[in-house]
Symmetry: C2
Subunit: 336 residues, 2 copies
């Protein structure tokens, strides 16, 4: 028997097969989410609902659902756990927006702008607690271990990013540590828990973990690149947002590393908040082009995307696998 080798394609990929694959399960997950957002305190469902109903792709629960299909799990435990994963993610977003002082997310006003920072902090805490209640109801200590560890890693990554903020000499390795913790850890856990509820082997668990982790990194790197691609908007995010906030991302790290002394001075000023105008952004775009920083950020993303695809090579071919492969292709193609 000849192995089927899956390589990144060059046609336009879509998230649609994945969305269709999980549509039925996602309706069940959404029901759990709505049920568990409830509270006698009206502000809680109001604020949480703003973000949860606010046009997010439910990427992480989708990964739990798709992974479960990939391995042929036919139970329903993963519905509750997928909701739990989404709650962790939502809590993180609420706190992130407070930490960053953001005013827009996915093109809508953030909860902290509408209801204030205190409410966002506390409702985040509530959702975080609810996510653990959901896991406890499921009753798997292994799932609890994976997700409580992922939560600690995310928080650690956020603090790491905070202490790294506005440091132009951050370096690619530390940056990868940060996004590995902040973004990829929950992607990995979301996929891995499907194998746990299905009681599959450690090897299958780790293959799904690797799929999620590599996809998470690819996803974040493409997000970083999009900020420096002028016709962007794919993610409800405007080009230049990261730049204006002085965010350290891989395009900046590469452009700084490869730049002249003068360029480095420019990036240092930008990251430290002294260059945030339109002309500055235009200059930044020209520097990332000259240094091929965006192209190479996308090349790095493709590297992780390929690893994600290869990590699930051992699972049976079929609709789920095709959808998971195309989801990676979609993730890395978004910036074109």
């Amino acid at each position: 028997m000849t192995a089927t080798v899956h390589r990144l394609k060059t046609t336009t990929p879509s998230l649609e097969p994945m969305l269709q694959l999980v549509a039925g399960d996602m309706a069940a997950v959404n029901a759990v989410i709505l049920d568990r957002m409830r509270s006698d305190i009206p502000l809680i469902p109001e604020l949480a609902g703003h973000l949860i109903a606010g046009g997010g792709k439910r990427m992480r629960p989708m990964l739990t659902l798709a992974s479960a299909q990939l391995i042929g799990y036919d139970g329903t435990r993963h519905h509750r756990l997928a909701a739990s994963v989404e709650f962790i993610h939502t809590a993180t977003l609420l706190h992130d927006d407070v930490v960053d002082g953001s005013d827009l997310r996915r093109g809508r006003r953030t909860a902290n702008i509408i209801w204030g920072n205190p409410a966002s902090v506390l409702v985040g805490d509530f959702l975080f607690s609810r996510s653990f209640e959901l896991m406890v109801e499921d009753g798997s200590l292994k799932v609890l271990k994976i997700l409580s560890n992922a939560s600690a890693v995310i928080a650690e990554g956020e603090v790491n990013q905070l202490t790294a903020a506005r440091r132009v000499d951050l370096g690619e390795d530390r940056y990868l540590d940060i996004i590995g913790a902040k973004t990829a850890a929950l992607f990995a856990a979301a996929c891995r828990i499907a194998a746990v509820v299905a009681e599959r082997s450690e090897a299958e668990e780790m293959a799904l973990d690797a799929y999620g982790r590599n996809l998470g990194i690819a996803f974040q790197l493409v997000d970083d690149a999009i900020d420096y691609v002028s016709d962007a908007g794919t993610m409800g995010k405007d080009a230049g947002d990261d730049f204006r906030e002085g965010k350290m991302t891989l395009p900046v790290i590469l452009a700084y590393a490869r730049g002249s002394a003068e360029d480095r001075k420019f990036w240092k000023d930008a990251v430290e908040g002294r260059r945030a105008g339109d002309a500055d952004f235009a200059h930044a775009i020209s520097l990332v082009r000259q240094t091929r920083a965006v192209d190479d950020t996308l090349a790095r993303a493709r590297h992780y995307g390929q690893r994600a695809i290869d990590s699930i090579a051992g699972f049976a071919d079929g609709r789920a696998k095709d959808a998971m492969i195309e989801a990676v292709e979609f993730a890395v193609a978004r910036a074109y």
Copy 2:
């Protein structure tokens, strides 16, 4: 056999017997706390340590340890769980100080003032995640259920308090709901989990839960009263802090309910932030005296204190029980 009836005493009670009772166990808990605060990100132990080492009484872990002694538990599982409870509490304090914009706690500058709100939010999240990791390591789903539920209740109580802020007509019932959730839920859970690890009956669990819950309410009410007792300072808290922040507490609720139309106008102005001067506070003190609002807040506290004591009547007499009774007496006597 005649039942031993424990009634609140009139001599000066102390927390000392409780501190001595748990001293050995507390050393073990402190070792767990120090170990689990560690992180490769230096800001995490630095910020967490500021609060954790900052002169707190470790009241909640102390309750877990004392409860375990009361029921004769001779294992060590409760050390890790007591540390977990303290982490939940510390995370809550970090977020509370951000929510309230506090600058002092226990007479020291708050973490949010020293390191900023973002760091306090994120390190709180980290400690919260760590607390769940500790519970998962212990492995009891029942403990996980109790503590994850307590966490959700705390967060719900905080949001409830936030939406009730500066509402002078809050009422005693809703106020009791708030402190029942914000303060008493974790006191109750801290005591109850001792019975869970010792595998005692549901009745013993609920007796310890009731002890903690009632003590928690008594504790909070006395804290509220202290703010309107001019020679206070017992808790590292200055008289008038609550008043100047426009906080709704039971003395205000009672003085408002019992006051004249003119008094009510004063309290409304105070709670809404238009009267926060020294003369205003002096006037507030005179109003709470006239209406016996502080005396009756303390009478309410004694009611809950007596209930706490009665709830552990069924356990064997001995050093642990004596210490737990005296801890209640100490809690309600602090304002005299």
